[in-house]
Amino acid sequence: MELIFEKSRPGYGGYQVPKTDVPEIILEEYIDSSLIREDLSLPEVAEIEVIRHYTALSRMNFGVDTGFYPLGSCTMKYNPKINEDLSHLPAFEELHPYGPESWSQGSLQLMYELKSFLCEIFGMADFSLQPAAGAHGELTGMIICRKYFDKKKERRSKILIPDTAHGTNPASGALCGYEVVTVKSDRDGNIDLDHLGRMMTDDVAALMLTNPNTLGLFERNIEAVADIVHIKGGILYGDGANANAFLGKCRPGDLGFDIIQVNLHKTFSSPHGSGGPGSGPVGVAPHLVDFLPIPRVVRDGEAYRMEYDFPDSIGRVKSFYGNFSVLLRAYAYIRSLGAEGLMKVAEIAVLNANYVRTRLKPFFDLPYDRMCMHECVFSGRRQLANWGVKTAHMAKRLIDYGFHPPTVYFPLIVPEAMMIEPTETESVTMLDKFCEAMIAIAKEAEKAPENLKKAPLNGAISQLDEVLAAREPDIRWKKRGEGNGH
């Protein structure tokens, strides 16, 4: 499709700026004209063209509302419409962050209560709502680690991360200067206790652990793991992105985690917005509360306010107070579901994943063949070995069947990985349709592999050349004649 720039017609403007109601001024009397912009090359299009252009683009996109979106690790559950509407109430949306606190009591109360809910759900002593995404929460957690050991005057330069971990974990660790050491997984898909024992030395600050891990498996030895880390004075950091699996069933705080980040946009159902905004609150055990970012929302009798006076705090990780409209949706979600609803989320999320695991097991390799939690990870190695069909091909083929593909090639320790997370909001009817498509594709891999490799076959666009994109980066449009790319 044409770009909005390619639809631009000189001299046309889609938006009318209000007439000025103040006396006109001679610009040059107030500011040197060398400081002023002369031109700005933005699209010149009418409102109808803007609407049609982006409406057409939207129709080239696939969301949860379009269909099943089993993108593993991302918890693409249904996003309740009422929460959208509530997040757009003017009294929330039009609130300036620097208004007097007496004018922001509704928003402050909401944040305070949300924080308390998260403490209860995750078994932590306190939470900061400031981080803007899961990875941002990880970074915040790691900075808390550093500050904690700094305060204790301990020099710890390493962090341990299992080989199954999400890429943000090592990246977050590294971003605050830690050396990242990988810990192996055992044959069951859990962290290898022996290896962990050997790696967990005095200069290790923390183990970053995802539980259930990215294989969708619960770390059965979590107690032993926590002991190994704690005995050496280390911190057990939890990547809470997979919390959908255990809501109301167990609590990270009770399992021994000292810090955890929660991905509100996953577990608590904010829409993912094509890649954000998200929200990644960080919860901590009692001994780490002092290190949380400032400000922190506190309650003063009947009133709520922001408190800045925490001398040990790591400081700010973001301007203002967090992604409020995401917090609001999470709050609404928790209030809707209540304790029983949240537990049911975990139960059905796990039920759905195990159902898919059971139904697809005959057709794809299942490297870790045990009860899974909220997602299950298959390997396409059989299809690759026998018929040269890659997981990427099968994923693209699913598009033809009307589904969003699962996460592929992650976790890294599973060759040709397909990571399927159905979430609790999908009906068994939908799961059956999906399984039937997967089975049909498995058969196609056997019977018509060449065809499969060209998938998607029915879309407006066919397989895209990602290598070309990286080799000759073209990251902006340029007028004809200006040349494109770099």
Partner: protein, 443 residues
């Protein structure tokens, strides 16, 4: 109300297929004594109708000012209806990062367009699909510079937004890098003499905000000259993105990084978030910039299409060697900005000019009041700092009328204890301003 579409019969049938007896059996791997043996202590569940009622009660405890004269990093601009209509298309807002380009051309193309617009606005060569916010974008720009140069210090003007400096310290401090602050001068601009003195060989990057926290436009020509001479990177930051449509593009001064906040482009203030972190740089940093980047490519038939590209920078490929840890960003806000800028087109320059004129009207009127004067005699865009005779009464008088006064500087700048930063955008009418003046005349 839960959102789970399972009947009891279906659950039983599924359990059978799996080969277990009960839902409990699915959780065998959680050690029993670690299980939560009680129900979570949360308020009872609510139906949609009850929820809507409860949240409306909460919203009633907020108070939206009848007039907002506060900027300071969050701006009350008019958002054209078209923006909300587009970002409410569920194909956009219920999707995730476009990992599968063949069914995500919509958002991919929109971000490619967004990238182009940001590069037009900033005059830079390389940008990404968004950062969390202005403050983190600025901090990450500094990390990029520090890593690239291998030196240890960031120099930042005290006229940079206090929260941005605070975030910078958190990000940079944890890496054992230093942050050094440079004062501002009588003109409200970064003190060039002090700046010159601190620029030693340990400095990787200098951060300047323009218009700065006081609304004052910095002397970028002089600063860029200083840093260029010393081969030190220069990071231009901003909180009011609309100023980009008024001022000479930062790229023209030869800066290395432009990092700031895009909330003014069609995103509500939202009590401070979500907003839009903008980060742009030079070609040199194409393979080091954090975050997602969308690139154009071709499909099998040779048609143009768009993909996430240069992913070898990213955490999911490079892990600890990634240029950043960013995964979810603020894509929907970038889309909002893209739609906003498409709709505005060149008219955004008129809009910026309108902001300029209105702000100067109020500044002129207020400086005529007895005891009031502009704190700094320096050009500004839509924010300006005023020294006022009696701060508590001024704040009180405006608040009484439901007017949100400007930002009180004394917490962050004790030396400016009687100074307020006002902001005037296109939504403020002359009538509003005349009313403000008449209220303040009575103080």
């Amino acid at each position: 109300m839960d959102y789970i579409p399972h009947t009891v019969e279906e659950i039983n049938r599924m359990l059978q297929v799996i080969g277990v007896k009960s839902l409990e059996d699915l959780f065998v791997d959680i050690p029993p004594h670690l299980r939560l043996s009680r129900r979570l202590d949360l308020p009872g569940s609510l139906s949609e109708q009850e929820l809507a009622q409860e949240i409306k009660v909460l919203s009633g405890k907020n108070r939206i000012p009848s007039l907002c004269l506060m900027g300071a990093g969050a701006y009350n601009h008019y958002i054209p209806a078209v923006v909300r209509h587009v970002i409410s298309r569920s194909e956009f807002y219920t999707a995730y990062t476009p990992y599968q380009p063949e069914i995500s051309q919509g958002i991919l193309q929109a971000i490619y367009e967004y990238q182009t617009m940001i590069l037009e606005l900033t005059g830079m060569e390389v940008t990404n699909a968004s950062m969390y916010d202005g403050a983190t974008a600025m901090a990450e720009a500094c990390l990029m510079a520090l890593k690239a140069r291998g030196t240890s210090r960031v120099v930042v003007s005290r006229a940079v937004h206090p929260e941005y400096r605070s975030v910078l310290k958190t990000y940079v401090g944890t890496n054992n890098y230093d942050v050094q602050e440079v004062p501002f001068d009588k003109e409200g601009r970064t003190d060039l003499r002090v700046l010159t003195n601190v620029l030693d060989h340990e400095v990787a990057v200098v951060v300047i905000q323009s218009p700065n926290f006081f609304g004052v436009i910095e002397d970028m020509a002089a600063i860029a000259h200083l840093t260029r001479e010393r081969k030190i990177s220069l990071c231009y930051t901003f909180t009011e993105a609309l100023s980009l449509a008024f001022l000479k593009p930062p790229g023209d001064w030869g800066v290395d990084f432009v990092a700031g906040e895009g909330q003014s482009f069609g995103i509500p203030m939202n009590y401070g978030g979500p907003s839009l972190g903008i980060l742009a740089t030079t070609r040199e940093f194409l393979r080091r910039i954090p975050g997602r980047i969308v690139g154009a490519t071709k499909d099998r038939e040779g048609n143009r299409g768009f993909v996430l590209t240069l992913q070898t920078r990213e955490q999911h490929i490079r892990r600890e060697k990634a240029t950043s840890n960013i995964c979810s960003n603020e894509a929907l806000c970038a889309l909002a900005a893209c739609v906003y800028l498409s709709l505005m087109g060149k008219n955004i320059m008129k809009l910026a000019r309108l902001n300029f004129e209105k702000a100067h009207y109020l500044a002129d009127q207020l400086s005529k009041l007895k005891g009031w004067k502009l704190s700094f005699p320096t050009p500004f865009f839509n924010e300006f700092t005023l020294q006022v005779p009696d701060m508590p009464s001024v704040v009180e008088a405006l608040s009484q009328e439901g007017i949100l006064p400007g930002y009180v500087l004394n917490r962050d700048y004790p030396e400016l204890a009687s100074d307020l930063v006002f902001c005037v955008t296109e939504v403020v009418t002359r009538e509003d301003m005349d009313k403000v003046v008449s209220i303040l005349r009575r103080v």
